[in-house]
Symmetry: C2
Subunit: 369 residues, 2 copies
């Protein structure tokens, strides 16, 4: 079989990870604070990193908890805020792991359509007007996973108003924010919020590396204190060694270089992917992303993406089916991640994907004939 | 106030942590496997470390899951096995965090008295004969926290028989096993078990350092697979960077040197503590530990350890009250951890503790007079 090309996993390829910078940061950390990084510490996270994050978001350190990756942060937040039967708004489509987490907690998950400029706030207003009393609205504002879309500033403001008037918390899940390769950055809802209605999550998985497993939450101090208590009971403290390495990577400026390298690669990969799709698979409809890892592709209504998945796999090409990111529907859509593939692999992968698509279309036409 | 001396925290002092070895292990790891340690990996843990652990326990890798510290492993195990109302046997006294975890899950916690050679198996048999149907028995076999006692080989075998006939799982919680500084090592129940009735947990917190947060579970492959699924949904994967560092620390042999340094220090600290107690506080009753971090002290019946705690704190001395490790009682006992204090601090700390004790005893005598 042909060499495998994966558009499936939202993860960076090794060539855009600053391994030398990480090795140096580890050495510096062991020199700078051997006591702090080898001891248990506490569930708030490694203190200097917590302070660095607080400074970056211009909040008090008491509003920050640093965790073993941001999925763990989500798990703590849901444990603190979401009980079985509670209503939670999510985007449609949304990150499959969040969807699964919420469903496992027994949440009443309401999906609201995602548009190219973010969640359909008019539709959300109708849901609220119809009597929904959500506890939480989970929003991935920048280069959304899986769609790659970005929430407009106007919609950010409108969401904050709705959260205020309907008393729900916005869970601003923002791991991709630093990966903008086109257009001007937009303010976070956290920074626009004056009423403590936002809990913000982000991570160093995309700016340092995923294996370092460092994420964090920013929110009202009272909520963060409750989460710290849950974290203490779960694991005493998160990884101090890796958080100290991240802290050194941040204060040395290595993170800025790393982000530049990642952005440049992502820009090239996204452009290559869009051009290849336009050339090889003109039936594909998509919105050109301004950052992040993902491109959402809609194929003509009636396209059987489950069959395409099999046909592509036979050609060594992986992607994730659109149906994985919704409660129902999504059968003619798919998510392509371009973060872990080189431009050459993208060219070749799209060629094979198009072959698989055209073969299926040919079969379908024969059946119709 | 006098310089603080803490007998409270079960953690090593920095002077017995091999910081240079850790720095070197980090550098080697980034050289040896940059791709493996910076990527997400999966919830089973860093594969080479999982294999190293499996080899050490002579089990298949599928029987091992490596986690972010062993408390997190406990949390996963309890999530997989213990539902609200389930009966769980624990030792009396036992580790306060385990007790809290189990109570938070709504478990029906049954404490069975701990003797100097381990849990009172005759008392456990009476509990079982009276109709208890425990799901799990939590046992800390070596240098128990908080008591410092070690389970005899005969009792290990008897526990396995009881687990077999009464169909409960033994949760063998063994973080201190490598820290024996006197006497011959005893076989783990895991190694004696032929029926898959043991789930074994341990950690590198005591042999590498706590801040590295690497622990693990060994158990039947089917149970481990269920736990891996829970782990995936919780945090995708544990810390690959720190697990790769631990792996290098292990295969380079640094861990053996580290364990020797720790054992030697603990032996000296334990001896100093026992001698100081005999000299300064002859009312104290305790069993000389053969390893580990802790010494359990019983004071004469009627001693108000809560008052002693306050009086000691006024003199800058901390310990943990015995009552923290039981559901009720323990008012005249305390736990002294000698892992984080130098011999000089131990001498000074016991002197102050004895002063506090004698002052209280004097007050009590005055009241009685």
């Amino acid at each position: 079989m042909a060499k495998a090309i994966s558009f499936a996993r939202g993860a960076p390829s090794l060539d855009i990870i600053d391994v030398d910078g990480l090795r140096a940061a580890a050495a510096s950390a062991f020199d700078a604070d051997p006591g702090g990084m080898t001891a248990y510490g506490t569930a708030i996270g490694y203190k200097p990193l917590r302070e660095w994050i607080a400074e970056r978001h211009q909040v008090a350190p008491e509003q920050v908890v640093v965790t073993n990756g941001s999925m763990q942060a989500d798990a703590f937040l849901f444990e603190a805020m979401v009980e079985s039967g509670d209503s939670v708004i999510v985007e449609r489509p949304t990150y499959d792991r969040t969807l699964l987490s919420l469903r496992n907690r027994g949440a009443d998950v309401r999906m609201v359509e995602l548009e190219p400029d973010g969640i359909d706030v008019a539709a959300l207003e109708r849901v609220l007007a119809a009597g929904a009393k959500p506890k939480l609205a989970h929003i991935i504002p920048n280069f959304q996973n899986p769609a790659g879309y970005t929430l407009s500033e106007q919609k950010r403001e409108r969401l904050l108003e709705l959260a205020g008037s309907h008393e729900f918390t916005i869970f601003e899940d923002d791991p991709y924010v630093s990966l903008r390769f086109e257009g001007a950055p937009l303010p976070t809802m956290l920074s626009l919020d004056e009423d403590g209605t936002v809990v913000y999550a982000s991570s160093f998985s995309k700016t340092v590396c995923p294996g370092i497993r460092v994420g964090y939450l920013v929110g009202p101090a009272e909520l963060i204190a409750r989460i710290v208590k849950i974290a203490t009971q779960t694991y005493i403290s998160p990884n101090m060694v890796s958080q100290a390495i991240v802290h050194e990577f941040c204060i040395s400026g290595a993170i800025d270089n790393s982000i530049e390298v990642v952005r440049k690669a992502l820009r090239e990969r996204a452009e290559t992917l869009c051009a290849a799709l336009e050339r090889e698979l003109p039936d594909a409809r998509f919105v050109r992303p301004q950052g992040g890892y993902f491109l959402w592709v809609d194929l003509p209504r009636g396209t059987d993406v489950a069959a395409l998945f099999e046909a592509a796999a036979e050609r060594g090409v992986q992607f994730v089916k659109g149906s994985d990111f919704v409660l129902d529907g999504g059968e003619s859509s798919l998510r392509l991640a371009y973060s872990g593939v080189t431009p050459e692999e993208i060219e070749e992968g799209v060629k094979r994907l198009a072959e698989a698509y055209h073969e299926l279309a040919g079969v379908a036409n024969e059946h119709a004939a």
